[in-house]
């Protein structure tokens, strides 16, 4: 049978040619900022002092991009200033963390790779203990590995179970000074069973424990916690304004936690010791801020600045560390000319046609 069709060119397409920022990390000592780019599947490193109020694209110092990099559906990034290494987390496809040297640029193989569970999102380094912590969305779990773990090396310990109260965790941050790990959860909770094409069906039919939608939260654990550990403190409730909390950072010097609050285009700052249904100490949000679908934040205590990586706009924003309300950013890093719209796609795996409105619906 001869198939009809063939190499049809698309009549229309929606593809964003520019990067979109997602994860962010700062190395104030070496004056570097690194951000992940989910759209073009790359990692961009900037000078810490870069950015301005101009409308032009900000030039990165380096960009890691290409098929050899093993960078794909990317989420968080992390710096290791002592080793001068960049950690890059792939979230929903590649199931691996890849590590590059500071000087990496272009299409090159990673220095090392660590395979991780599917839907790993966040990462945080503890340079004192030489360990990294990651968050895993679909397992509602935090796993801790050796810093130099490679290949299929198993985690040293995991925090997982109903008592942890984690539910679809994203941002994770190791508070090295206080021996704690903070985790931001969206609130989607279920207990899955093996599901992949490589998992043979067991003799028993898997049973459902029933899914739940919990309120989004910030959970604080002892950094030695393992198993079904209860959090030391939990920030959760309507007063918190938490709404799809993504990346987080901790200011141990000033005892604060900053959260990229994706659901309402804001950054929330809580007291580090806050617990329960508490109001944030500060909220940065409003038209002047330029915050649009923020994915991650980074606090630079050395230079008293707070960085925000936007996904809904082709920008990263630099605020005063103590900014509050509808404050304008001090400077802006642009990965596309000002005003360039974003496609908004993040790993589009489905589409539906709304015949009533002649619209296409694409879930991320």
């Amino acid at each position: 049978m001869t198939s009809i069709g063939g190499e049809l060119p698309p009549l229309r397409y929606v593809v964003d040619p520019y990067p979109t920022f997602n994860g962010i990390a700062i190395d104030a000592k070496n004056n570097r900022v690194v951000m992940s780019d989910e759209n073009r599947k790359s990692v961009l490193t900037y000078d810490r002092a870069s950015g301005s109020n101009a409308t032009a694209v900000t030039s990165p110092l380096r960009q890691i991009i290409g098929p050899q990099t093993e960078i794909g559906y990317i989420s968080a990034v992390e710096f290791d200033p002592a080793q001068r290494e960049i950690y890059v987390v792939n979230n929903d496809i590649e199931d691996r963390i890849v590590v590059f040297d500071y000087g990496a640029h272009g299409d090159l193989k990673p220095k090392r790779r660590l395979y991780v569970p599917h839907q790993t999102w966040g990462i945080s380094l503890n340079p004192v203990q030489d360990e990294i912590a990651i968050s895993v969305q679909q397992l509602s779990m935090v796993a801790v590995y050796r810093r130099e773990a490679t290949g299929l090396e198993a985690p040293l310990r995991i925090i997982k179970g109903p008592h942890t109260e984690m539910a679809d965790p994203h941002g994770v941050r190791w508070d090295v000074a206080h021996h704690e790990i903070v985790v931001a959860s969206h609130g989607n909770y279920s207990v899955i069973t093996p599901y992949s094409a490589y998992d043979a069906e067991g003799s028993n039919t898997p049973t459902s424990v029933g899914g739940h939608f919990l309120l989004p939260s910030l959970s604080v654990f002892e950094d030695s916690a393992k198993g079904d550990a209860r959090p030391l403190r939990t920030i959760q409730g309507p007063r918190t304004k938490l709404n799809w909390p993504m990346g987080i950072d901790i200011d141990a010097a000033n005892n604060e936690i900053a959260v990229a609050n994706n659901g309402d285009n804001s950054v929330l700052v809580f007291s580090r010791m806050a617990d329960g249904d508490v109001t944030p100490a500060r909220v940065i949000g409003g038209v002047r801020t330029g915050i649009s679908s923020p994915m991650s934040v980074a606090i630079d205590t050395k230079n008293d600045e707070l960085w925000v990586a936007n996904y809904g706009d082709h920008t990263a924003l630099v605020f005063s560390r103590t900014a509050t309300g509808d404050a304008a950013p001090k400077r802006i890093i642009r990965n596309a000319p000002a005003g360039t719209p974003t496609g908004g796609f993040g790993n589009p795996y489905a589409v539906a046609y709304d015949s009533k409105r002649d619209e296409l619906l694409v879930p991320n």
């Binding site: 698309p10 559906y73 490589y198 459902s208 029933g210 795996y349 489905a350």
Partner: protein, 280 residues
Amino acid sequence: MHGIAYDATHDEVIVPVALGAAVLTFRGGATGAEAPIRVIQGRKTKLIRPHTVAVDEQNGEIIVADTSSRSLLVFARDADGDLPPKRVIQGPKTGLLFIVGVAVDPVHDRIVAASASSIPGGTSGLFIFDRNDQGDVAPRGVIAGPQTGIVRPWQLAVDPSLGRVFVAAINNENHPPYQLEMPRADLARNLQLPSPWTTGALGFVGVWDIHDNGDVAPRAVIKGPGSFLVHPAGVAVNPKGGEVFATDSVRNGLFTFLAPHFFSKPGADRVPIENRRDHE
């Protein structure tokens, strides 16, 4: 989310929430943080990791493909809360494993599932069931094999008026290194797994007849560098406008193809497009 369905009759949008073991229904045109109008969730639903959904507007049903329970679960369209499915297709006879696509054809009374298996003896392809099947039943037809070109199927769409099944064959090679929270025991510790983006076969959108069975080539395809498709995962159709829509995660984009000949009546569809143009 890896699935979505639009119900034109009731102007509603249905999405699965894999991480909350739920199926949500929104009003059509919903925007922002608008709440769903119905939520199927809870222990009785048997939902564990609902991956994708289809809606049968004619018979008032929602069909859910669950990757963890390896099952197709059928709910009433207006189901709301913690309630059991009306029917479940599940078990070794079904051949279903990693079910990532589902579509329903109420005209020909068929449910089509896209399922992948990488275990010995398993089958990756399209599994076609009677719409009212339930329990551990063998499919009426299985479209799989080298002639199909399907290495790894993903989302499905159906044009019920003609009984056409549209398949996004993502076709990339994806070997998960973990089983849930631990590294897979069957993998060598020093193994280097392929990158899902740079390996596998080139993906395509393929079209089959709902009555096709076995190792049969697609009746129509959209494929190749000129199509921009590398590993397409999503597919939807607008039969009235002759349009095929596809999403591609490598491109991180959405593509619209004008292919009215894909929606022509039986009898004309076997003619290659080049010849069709000659006669037009």
